[in-house]
């Protein structure tokens, strides 16, 4: 008989979580509640006597501030009660921890396998009706996809005596039998089958699999192995996963015919090979002896040299579809997932920083939401909490990020999560960046257990959710189980116990074992040995499950004893599932039964290349005509308050950005620790002064005019950000993350060929700027189906390229922040301003579209400017440096001033520009390649000698706390109190 323990704060103790919930009910949903109090419920699914339950309750509850009860409700003094618990099979971290505590407390008296499940009661006081309470439950307290709730009014609660204990267990089934799938079907029937089973395989791919199984050698091999002629369910699921867009990047590898008006057709055999890998090859060749790349595009993350002793590792991932449905779980698994990627690179890396970039619709969105979409405000709060838990609990500082707003992200929010790692150049006598499973090595699964979590995750974005199968749809991460596993794996690494490891992300074991088997040339595994969360999983589900916190390691026979002993001592589950061999085949068993047999070359190389057409349009860059606003001070103030410009301090403070002790430039800087840093600087090795700068660039709005310039500006912005804080422009590596709307033309997606042309153009720009800048791409990822299409509503995101730049500072003490430092310093503008207002925040503020998109005109010359600026920084000539991005020069000057608590007096006529520009254009143009720099008077001459024509003094820092900008007329066109500007900048996103 299950029973309930309840824990609540004693009367008189402040219920901070309840108070915060009440505030959000009011702010987010507009309901008035007088008070919210919380009660934590532990449903103990074990036959225990009252004494043991009492012992447990007294240990769980804080004796100073909490009261507790056994089988007696604590709720009182409320009008409505909402109890929220998890659905069956959903990860319940508090439940797991309390179960472990119960086992320790009660030792033998705790029944083997017994579990505790948790739920939370919200006691609402206020004049509400049931429908309002249910709206609060669904709108804030409960995500029905992973949770369930019950509502009681006070009368019913009193007459019923509260709730009866209920346990959310997954119904236990027999292991489903392995089925075979007939592919001897018409083309139409093949396509229907692919769609019905959510394989997301195209007709060509279905035919390729069918033909493979009809090959005489395959037929004979299967007969000999005792397998049916037709593929098993496991086999076809493995093809669907391995060949999915998510895993195989079929669009990036497609053969594309690219048409551009007025130009000859261009044939591109894979944009990935041509532009992404192509850029890196060209940069590496040009670097020659100075090439710092070690392992790029082959492992889970890119690896390059930090210095003679250490290697850097970096990876950035997206987790868009899961975050749309469950923002908390989606972002949390996004972070812990990319953490596993970087850990499981080469011989294994220690993680030293996280980054996160969210693209969302306005949290102030009003109006109806299309079905299945969550309000952006809820997504924002959910992803924030997900990253907070994922990053903070893993002990990895979140050092850099962005929030980018555009209404089209309502259809699909973008959640980018990145992780940097570091490893010694050599580990246990071997180069750390290389790894290779050897024939004979054992296949060991380490970490969490397998459930139905995230099955079909690789094709999930196109899937309609099934009623009643929520446990398979989204997942919640468990950072502590993962932290324990990572602690263990790094210790095993240092003892040289593994040949290789990789994470279990999309595709689970199928992906990790399938990839690792390529090196030795074969593997054999028994799925019956895999530890499960609950019984009843079919073999294919075990193999494909994306349950979190799992790694696969290749461990030599000679080390396995020590490896398993160490795992046991560190309370980490590690299970031998099979071994690698050189048979050329991947053999999957379930106990004695053979359930899948794969020819490795066909599995990895058999997918037919897609053939696509891309059609670019004539770009119209004529600017709309409009009257300049008479009061540029008020325009500047409004721009500072725009969502894409304003302070993000509320988020930044909720992420631990200093853990590990190497923080040098924090996300917030300046006289009151709240100015917006351009990039982070971290010392990953505390004994060394070597600094790593982490920055990023993205400008999705520019795609509306030309995705080429969107991409060029994104690369420049990322590089410029790290240069601004002091990184050496000749030692920068970058990562590309493409998030696109569906670029495959179809009836439902008639302009798919244009979206593909945008993708081609973005790649061309990525190539050209990376080559000109000498910045190799070391890792990247793409996510191609970021559209919402239900009923008549279709929302496509603006094509978005996130570029993450990682730079190196030989001496972190030469880092520079963006805040003005001293009155009397000279103010310089570096770089030339053009009238680039298309896609700008200024135009968006005026409600204008079109116009001349910002362009990086001479990348080679710009790179040279960055070198000169860096030389000036190394000579300690620079007090502050701030890059110009959203909102242009006006916003950058204002930020530099209020972050420093000082005024600036600037003559706009001195700002280097292409032609004489109107004051508003000069102030708000978003031309890339520019900085605002302040320089001590004593260093001004030296600075000018170093920068030459690339910098011009435009004014000086003043004691007077005002921003005074005089325009073409010589009169002040902006004259504002810096604290008022700061207030306008801080106000919008503060909850």
């Amino acid at each position: 008989m299950p029973c309930r323990i309840e824990v609540a704060l004693k009367r008189g103790q402040r219920d901070a979580l309840g108070a915060r919930t009440a505030q959000r009910i009011h702010q987010d949903l507009g309901y008035e509640v007088l008070k919210v109090r919380c009660v934590d419920v532990f449903t103990v699914d074990a036959a225990l006597d009252v004494d043991d339950l009492t012992t447990l309750a007294a240990a769980i509850a804080d004796p100073v501030v909490c009261e507790w009860s056994v089988e007696r409700p604590l709720a009182r003094g409320f009008d409505w009660l909402v109890e929220v618990g998890f659905r069956p099979g959903v990860t319940d971290n508090v439940g797991r921890t309390s179960t472990e505590s119960a086992r320790l407390l009660l030792s033998d008296r705790w029944p083997t396998g017994a579990r505790i499940h948790t739920s939370r009661q919200y006691l609402l006081s206020g004049e509400l009706v049931r429908s309002e309470v249910e709206a609060i439950a669904i709108g804030l307290l409960c995500n029905p996809l992973i949770q369930q709730f019950r509502v009681l009014d006070r009368q019913t609660f009193e007459s019923d005596g509260g709730f009866v204990a209920q346990v959310p267990t997954v119904a236990q089934h027999e292991v489903p039998a392995v089925e075979t799938v007939s592919l001897d079907l018409s083309d139409d029937a093949l396509l229907v089958l692919s769609k019905e089973r959510t394989w997301a395989l195209s007709l060509e791919e279905m035919q390729a699999i069918r033909d493979h199984f009809a090959t005489p050698t395959v037929v004979a091999r299967r007969a000999k192995a005792g397998l049916p002629a037709e593929p098993t369910d496991l086999e076809i699921e493995v093809y669907a996963q391995t060949w999915s867009e998510h895993c195989k990047h079929k669009i990036f590898n497609a053969f594309i015919r690219y048409y551009e008006p007025g130009r000859e057709r261009e044939d591109i055999d894979s944009v990935f090979k041509t532009y992404v890998r192509g850029a890196t090859s060209k940069v590496r060749a040009a670097l020659g002896q100075q090439d710092f790349c070690l392992s790029v595009f082959v492992d889970n993350a890119g690896v390059w040299k930090l210095d003679d002793e250490w290697n850097l590792v970096f990876k950035v991932e997206t987790h868009n579809s899961p975050s749309a449905l469950d923002p908390y779980g989606g972002a949390l698994t996004g972070i812990v997932g990319v953490n596993r990627d970087s850990v499981a690179t080469g011989q294994g890396a220690r993680l030293f920083c996280n980054t996160d970039v969210f693209c969302l619709a306005s949290p102030k969105h009003e109006g109806d939401l299309p079905p299945r979409l969550l309000h952006p405000r809820r997504i924002l709060e959910g992803v924030r909490e997900g990253v907070e838990h994922g990053g903070n609990k893993s002990g990895i500082p979140t050092v850099n990020g962005s929030l980018v707003f555009d209404e089209r992200f309502l259809g699909k929010p973008l959640v980018f999560c990145g992780t940097g790692g570091i490893m010694p150049k050599e580990v246990a006598g071997k180069p750390s960046h290389a790894k290779q499973a050897e024939a004979g090595d054992l296949i060991v699964m380490v970490g969490g257990r397998i459930g139905k979590d995230g099955i079909h995750g690789a094709t999930f974005s196109s899937e309609e959710l099934h009623e009643g199968s929520p446990a398979t749809a989204v997942q919640i991460g468990d950072p502590i189980t993962q932290k324990r596993a990572v602690d263990f794996l790094l210790r095993a690494r240092d003892e040289g116990l593994m040949s290789s490891m990789t994470d279990n992300g999309a595709g689970g074991l199928s992906s990790s074992v399938g990839e690792m088997a390529e090196g030795p040339g074969g593997a054999r595994i028994d799925l019956q040995k895999a530890p499960l969360k609950y019984a009843g999983l079919a073999p294919w589900e075990i193999y494909l499950s994306e349950a979190q916190e799992r790694m696969t390691a290749a461990v030599p026979e000679t080390s396995i004893g020590r490896f398993l002993d160490m795992a046991r001592e560190m309370d980490v589950e590690a299970t031998v599932l099979g071994h690698f061999n050189n048979s050329g085949e991947l053999e999957i068993r379930y106990g004695d039964e053979l359930v899948g047999l794969f020819d490795l070359p066909f599995l990895h190389g058999g997918v037919p290349q897609m053939k696509l057409e891309a059609r670019h349009k004539v770009v119209d860059e004529s600017d709309p005509s409009y009257e300049a606003h008479g009061d540029l001070t008020s325009v500047l103030s409004s721009l500072l308050g725009r969502l894409n410009v304003c302070s993000k301090e509320y988020w930044v403070r909720q992420y631990d950005h200093e853990v590990q002790g190497g923080s040098v430039i924090k996300p917030l800087c300046g006289v009151s620790n709240s100015g917006p840093s351009d990039a982070a600087v971290v010392r990953p090795v505390l004994e060394s002064m070597r600094g790593v700068a982490v920055g990023h660039g993205l400008c999705p709005r520019y795609s509306d005019i030309d995705a080429y310039h969107m991409a060029a500006c994104a690369v420049d912005e990322a590089v410029r950000n790290v240069v601004a804080v002091g990184a050496d422009p000749d030692k920068i590596a970058a990562l590309d993350n493409f998030c696109w709307c569906d670029p495959v033309k179809s009836k439902a997606n008639p302009d798919g060929d244009y979206k593909l042309a945008q993708l081609v153009r973005a790649n061309k720009a990525l190539y050209e700027v990376c080559v000109a800048y000498g910045v190799p791409l070391v890792s990247g990822k793409d996510s191609m189906k970021n559209d919402y299409a239900i009923g008549d509503t279709r929302i496509s995101i603006p094509p978005t390229l996130l570029v993450t730049a990682i730079g190196i500072l030989d001496d972190a003490q030469l880092a520079v922040t963006m805040d003005a430092k001293r009155a009397g310093d000279a103010v310089y503008v570096v770089g030339v301003t053009y009238p680039d207002l298309g896609g700008s925040e200024y135009y968006a503020h005026l409600g204008l579209s079109g116009g001349a998109v910002p362009k990086l005109r001479e990348p080679a010359a710009t790179k040279q400017t960055y070198r000169l600026l860096h030389r000036a920084m190394k000579a300690r000539l620079v007090s502050s440096c701030h890059d110009l991005s959203d909102g242009g020069l006006g916003v950058a000057l204002a930020e530099c001033a209020f972050a420093g608590g000082l005024g600036l007096v600037v003559d706009l006529r001195e700002v280097p520009s292409s032609t004489e520009l109107r004051d508003d254009a000069l102030l708000f143009s978003e031309t890339p390649g520019r900085f605002v720099v302040t320089v001590p008077q004593s260093a001004a001459r030296a600075f000018e000698i170093v920068l030459g024509e690339m910098a011009r003094q435009v004014g000086f820092v003043s004691e007077d706390k005002r921003l005074v900008l005089s325009g073409q007329s010589g009169e002040a066109v902006v004259d504002a109190d810096i604290f008022e500007l700061e207030a306008a900048w801080k106000k919008p996103l503060w909850f």
């Binding site: 103790q13 402040r14 901070a16 979580l17 108070a19 915060r20 769980i60 804080d62 004796p63 100073v64 501030v65 971290n93 508090v94 921890t97 309390s98 472990e100 505590s101 320790l104 407390l105 030792s107 907070e388 903070n392 609990k393 002990g395 990895i396 468990d478 502590i480 932290k483 324990r484 602690d487 210790r491 001592e569 560190m570 309370d571 930044v652 403070r653 909720q654 992420y655 631990d656 200093e658 853990v659 590990q660 002790g661 190497g662 923080s663 040098v664 430039i665 924090k666 800087c669 300046g670 006289v671 620790n673 505390l686 003490q813 880092a815 922040t817 805040d819 430092k821 502050s880 420093g900």
Partner: protein, 272 residues
Amino acid sequence: MARSIRVIVLTGNGINCEMETAHAARLAGADQVDIVYLWDFASGKANLAHYDFLCLPGGFLDGDDLGSARACAIRMRHTMTPSGRLFDQIRRFVADGGLVLGICNGFQLMVKLGLLPSLGGDPGSQQVTLTWNDSGRFEDRWVHLAVDPESPCVFTRGLSQLELPVRHGEGKIVCGEFASVETLLERRLVPLFYIDPATGRATTDYPANPNGSSHGMAALCDPTGRILGLMPHPEAYLHRTNHPQWTRAELPVQGDGLALFKNAIEHLRSGQ
């Protein structure tokens, strides 16, 4: 010849500040600094008897799933080592004159294990608690702290003011019937207070006091002064580049946080 000082820094199970805490101990002059997994006590590989100074670093022990450090307090009370209960090993270490420094989550663990403030009564029973910040939020921000010069705390000896970061969601000290605020203040067991930098006085006002702790209490020590728990992170300010305003202020190369570790090493070297 001065005696050799051996420091043990715990890790594992969600602890995540072990690296910088060990770095602090080394910079402060410890002769031997070992980062030891919690699990290594059960197997007998680690034993506190071999050390002089125990550091319990920050982190999220067991994910703080039952409230900060509570599940780990249960774990430590029930962990058996080859020579008996781990908790007894810790109490013996304390009784034998060892120093203990708990930072953030380590402080929360000490409070929940009853190691602080340790005012007598049933040993190992929890007397105060650390609970949710008034804001209900985790926050990372720098705070100004004043030292109580009359405190018996050996870690803060000779110090007057410090700047350090806090990074916590549950940092508000709440006293119970066993140990009132008045008793703690009277017995000078509050060595550090959050202060308003403008006035230099202890404050309960956000954000100078990040969690709403009464009287601005930021730390607790035991009556011997050898056990200190604090919410701010001294190991996060060891070098001037850790300070949020190092690019605009003249600061000593050595960060404020190192002084606490130096005092501890100094005490051990000179004391016995």
